[in-house]
Subunit: 221 residues, 4 copies
DNA sequence: GATGAATGAGTCTTCATTCAT
DNA sequence: AATGAATGAAGACTCATTCAT
């Protein structure tokens, strides 16, 4: 592409105009910094440096550190939610043997990626950010329960699962996954003993499915 | 409560000699403030006020805010550890039906008291306080695993439990309890739907014991 | 000086971009404050105000009060060192009568300017700032001895000066100059009697040169 | 000495009543601490510990840290003044050869003992303690000049010394001694090269006496 | 007389936020 | 749009001084 006439008036800009991408680049950088240091200890300047901009620029896109934090969590979760939805919706057919596969697919995805760190971040800061807690509760967890609830309902209808409240069962599913996530990011770094998250999650899948199946049997007359 | 006559003559003294009691009063006050605000957002002056002393007094007993935080967690956990030990050691006899009782006794004690908030605090701050993480790992969790491990081993020996690694089983036991604790302190306050921690825990106990029993059956020839 | 019309429309801006000049302005202000109050008693805010900036700005240029102090002494001495070098190196030819001129040129320059106050400051704080002492020893004194040593060696070679260790002679040269400097800044302000530093220094020059000449004569066979 | 009847009523006290000695013990301890750290950096508690008492006790004897500092300097100097006086007054007879002995006796006594450190302390803090400066000027220096002045006057009368103002000559005498004292306490600790204070002082004595003698010769017709 | 627990004013230092360029 | 110099409020920590015991 040869330079045309208008180049005379408008010399090549030193930086490429990337207005649209900038904010989400910043959010990614911010996520990394928040994960590493937590909300308070993360300095705006750290985030700016990680994003390759300067402090002032952050404030062109976000009105405050707190607003940025909320946006960070939002974006991080939203971008994962679609993956999660796809994951859940892919599964069709008989659900009982599926539960195990769901846990084994979904578990490591939470426990082994930085979703674990995000979860820890949310847990840590929810007290100071009710807005975050509310968002997480309604946008993330509610959707997850919804997706999982439909699958579970099928299983109950088919006599594969006992008739328990879905929000309770969800917590039984998530609990050991969450503890695995937390363990990996919190205690494993200071622990000399090896820690095998996948083993925990697959054992969890086995025990839980076995337990649900057993209770379902009991319910039958 | 009206002021009595002698108040006129004897205004409140600036201080009263109470060296022995002071430190643990301060730790209690500090725990409350740390739980409410997190480590960084808690101001020493807040803690001092909550303890009924002034800033300077804090520094007579603790060399720094960080040291105080570590002491807070230590004292909070140590005082619970004995309860926990007693709880575990009381149980004797056949262990399979016991597991359920253990979860149902121990679970609410973690999920419903401020142990839940402490756990959240540890999770939130462990990244910035490796010392806390290490302490918690070695003093709190290791002991719990130890106590629980002995019980579980009996069950395995008696064919009541499947032969799984005890550290893995421990996480299956704790996971849903922990999520209950976190839920109560993190999401329940912003959630309009009712949340029944005890239901979660007792369901957990039922499903887990059923699952372990089922797997134990499978193991038998 | 009355405010002009445009003042109405343009109130003083919060700041003006002056990165290049700022640091040395701050160092000058800091020198004045440190001289007046000593290191510990000088408040960063005093220095900032004297420099026409606010506290925070100081920390944009110096990482700590201590670092600033070291920079202050360094800059104050380094800028004088070149003058001193020029002064010494200008002198050529026979050195014996020169010694007197050197003292009479150099003495008042130390005793009458704020070099005197800096010397006092260094003496006062060297105990708490070994780095300052070391810097002063190696950068300031060593250079002075070096310059002076070359001149003195010529005089010894020419039989004008006795063959004494140059570091000892240096102290004989400096001693009365230093006491003059200290006297002026320490005791003269509280003394009702008049004090004539120049008289002390010129008498010193006369007596010292006479003494050295006499000893040089003695050395000759 | 056997215990007598009144012992029954007055059992041996746990501590010996030493009201009279206590203050000067504290002053000695305080001197050491002030010398080591300077006025501001010296903590009352350091002094108390060094004196074997507690903070509160200090305030039974001195109304404030500043008052204590002034008392410290006073006592330290007063106790030395008598020695100095004795030293000066011992000397009698012809004064010219004596000057050298005076310097060689008195010099090391100032330069090598903690008088050097006290001098440094006074120089350092005089700005913040005009009272100290005044005391030192009038009580210490004036007396020294007085004693020395009588000797010098004899020498002038006898044609041994040139007719110079005694306050000027005093500074020529003291200057190299002072620089030796300061050097030893300020720069020698950070200097790898050896430093021989006595050599400086004896050279000083030789050069100064030679110089004064030479000028006295010039004055003669 | 002595103690030492308690106080609180004083200071350094950090960092989110602003705004002239 | 981007920069980065400057701001100033906020908070950890120190230590001279007080005073109940």
């Amino acid at each position: 592409m040869s330079r045309t006439k208008e180049d005379e008036a408008t010399p090549a800009p030193r930086w490429r105009r990337r207005k649209a991408e900038r904010p989400s680049e910043m959010l990614e950088a911010a996520l990394a910094v928040f994960i590493e240091k937590g909300f308070t200890a993360a300095r705006i300047e750290d985030i700016a440096r990680a994003a390759g901009v300067t402090k002032g620029t952050i404030y062109l896109y976000f009105p405050s550190k707190q607003a940025m934090f909320e946006a960070v969590i939002r974006q991080a979760m939203v971008s994962r939610l679609d993956e999660a939805r796809a994951l859940f919706e892919r599964h069709e057919g008989p659900v009982a043997p599926l539960l195990r596969r769901i846990i084994e697919d979904f578990g490591p995805r939470l426990a082994m990626t930085n979703l674990a760190a995000i979860a820890r971040l949310v847990i840590a800061e929810a007290g100071n950010f009710p807005e975050i807690a509310r968002f997480y509760r309604h946008e993330v967890i509610a959707r997850g329960e919804d997706l999982f609830g439909r699958i579970y309902a099928q299983g109950v209808a088919g006599g594969e699962f006992p008739d328990l409240p879905v929000d309770v069962v969800t917590k039984l599913v998530i609990g050991p996954v969450l503890i695995t996530a937390i363990w990996r990011t919190t205690f494993a770094p200071v622990d000399e003993r090896p820690f095998d998250p996948v083993a925990v999650i697959s054992t969890h899948a086995r025990v839980l499915t076995a337990g649900l199946r057993a209770l379902a049997e009991e319910e039958k007359p």
